[in-house]
Symmetry: C2
Subunit: 331 residues, 2 copies
């Protein structure tokens, strides 16, 4: 592949001039610049990225470490990140941690090796993997979940408030034994949603009971089992707050198996909106999260850190909103 000196030779100038002409840094004689451009074009020249990165001691690459590309919530985040990054001339490397701390560490190592300019991460469970990034002066932004310590900017959704609101909504719709199915203990979003549910119960004058609460992975399969145990007990709940979209699928599957209809038999509200939510009968009431905005806000914060902003780490809290549909209405 053609190098900068091939271009220089062909244009009859020095490599320095080629570099200057191609990067538009310093001013170059228009005629020479034209010759350089022509030569580069004829040779199909592409600057060697690794060489440039080595010399410049920086790369225009961000790493985005999420738990699962197949989760629409995270793909929406990644869109937000990518749009902002792309706009600023940065590329984004997407990494799936599968919520496993080991895999997360591995990707953090890769990010460090490749000297990415910054990292956006939705940390898996007990993750101190961000510390090593900070130790090497790589800016980090946490998305959706908090980092241990306050090592970088954080962008969160106010899950607790949203869960409280959803619970009150169910109460207002006439449900009285409201249950909750949330994610694994120790995962911030799961715990916050449960806490908000408790807030809502208290405010509605309902008493919490562990028999109305279950935890499972943020996946359909686990949620289905949990829903069975919840719904087949002696005094089952008459409504359910479900902590994510995939879990909602498991819950609805189980309800179908048990012959229970959403809304009429069991009120249902789930986190995360989805294009198919309106196709269900009845349509699914959801808590819509601003996933795209989380991504774009996080990317913006990261870019400004990369740009040299050394002020105190910030926490941005975005709010989710309830979208009422038939699954939370008895009528």
């Amino acid at each position: 592949m053609a190098t900068i000196s091939d271009v220089a030779t062909r244009a009859g100038v020095s490599t320095a001039t080629v570099s200057r002409a191609l990067n538009g840094k310093s001013t170059v004689d228009p005629e020479l610049a034209a010759r350089v451009l022509a030569a580069a074009d004829e040779l199909g020249y592409r600057p060697n990225g690794p060489a440039r990165n080595l010399r410049r001691q920086e790369t225009a690459v961000l790493a985005l470490i999420i738990s699962d590309v197949e989760n629409p919530f995270f793909t929406a985040i990644s869109r937000g990140v990518e749009d902002v990054a792309h706009e600023a001339g940065y590329s984004v490397v997407l990494c799936n941690s599968d919520d496993e701390p080991d895999k997360e560490r591995e990707y953090v190592d890769v990010a460090l090796q490749e000297r990415v300019a910054g990292v956006l991460i939705s940390p898996a469970g007990a993750g101190d993997s961000a510390e090593v990034l900070r130790a090497h002066n790589t800016p980090v932004v946490a998305l959706d979940r908090r980092l241990e310590g306050s090592l970088g900017d954080t962008v969160l959704v106010d899950n607790q408030l949203a869960a409280r609101e959803a619970t009150l909504h169910l109460r207002a719709q006439g449900y009285r034994r409201i249950g909750c199915l949330t994610g694994p203990s120790g995962v911030l979003t799961a715990d916050d949603r449960l806490a908000g549910y408790h807030d809502g119960l208290a405010e509605a004058g309902l008493t919490a009971s562990s028999s109305l609460e279950r935890r499972s992975e943020f996946k359909a399969a686990g949620a289905k089992d949990a829903a069975r145990s919840l719904l087949t007990q002696d005094e089952p709940p008459d409504a359910l707050l479900v902590a994510n979209n995939a879990m909602a699928i498991g819950v609805l599957e189980m309800m179908a198996e048990l012959g229970l209809r959403a809304g009429r038999d069991i009120g249902v509200v789930a986190f995360d909106d989805a294009p198919w939510a309106t196709l269900l009968d009845p349509p699914l009431t959801v808590v819509a999260q601003p996933a795209y905005d989380m991504g774009s806000a996080g990317a913006q914060l990261l870019l400004s850190r990369i740009g040299g902003d050394h002020s105190e780490p910030t926490t941005t809290t975005l709010s989710a909103h309830l979208v009422g549909r038939g699954s939370s209405s008895k009528g």
Copy 2:
């Protein structure tokens, strides 16, 4: 950040020995190796990726250029790619072309600059952007769609066969005016599915009619409009073959608006399975595509090209299978 010579100094050896000890290439005295490892650990040393890549003239990175991370079909592909790549020690950079040739070119340029080891691409419309890759000796594998010319290995699904099968299935279920809603003209998958639909009609002894066919983007919004025009004409179809998942959402939305029930009023089969397909009433009959397998097969092919396999480009055709559910049954 610590460099290889920091490690060398600390361990009291040369940089060459550090390199050898860390890469396990040549054999190093165990005692020295231990000293090197210790020194590297103490300094938190991470090899400088760009420097290594520059020196080695190669990177362990693949680029995957798809049209949309938010499309579950492509995320499944990306999982397949990533699992295989990761296993082999490669990283994957995901790029969204949004099916725009310009954006696709841009990413191809980036891939070239960064000297990625190879590229997997699901080419947008009329894409010659792969040619430039071949011109620079970067291996390319086409996924889901064919490349102009035969520039690299190709992994496809037999869409035509699958569409034919789906059409015959609808006929067997008693539908007689079967319509088809496919993607943009010029997109291989869209055209193949339409062709397969024609095959099926012919085989079932039904006559094709342009009044039963529509095209739109592979998105819900366009499909919804197309469905309206299809279903509100004088002699509307009594069944519909829909060319992808997102479009199916648009179609089902329109059917709901028109008060049409899937199965009983209009038989529906859509490409791409989805976890929510079984939650619909009636559940959606789909053509399930082996997306994960496409990704993993493509990655395997690419890796073997990177490894120096210069044999003739191959075409791998995977088959999709029909999953019959209630939306294609009158009962």
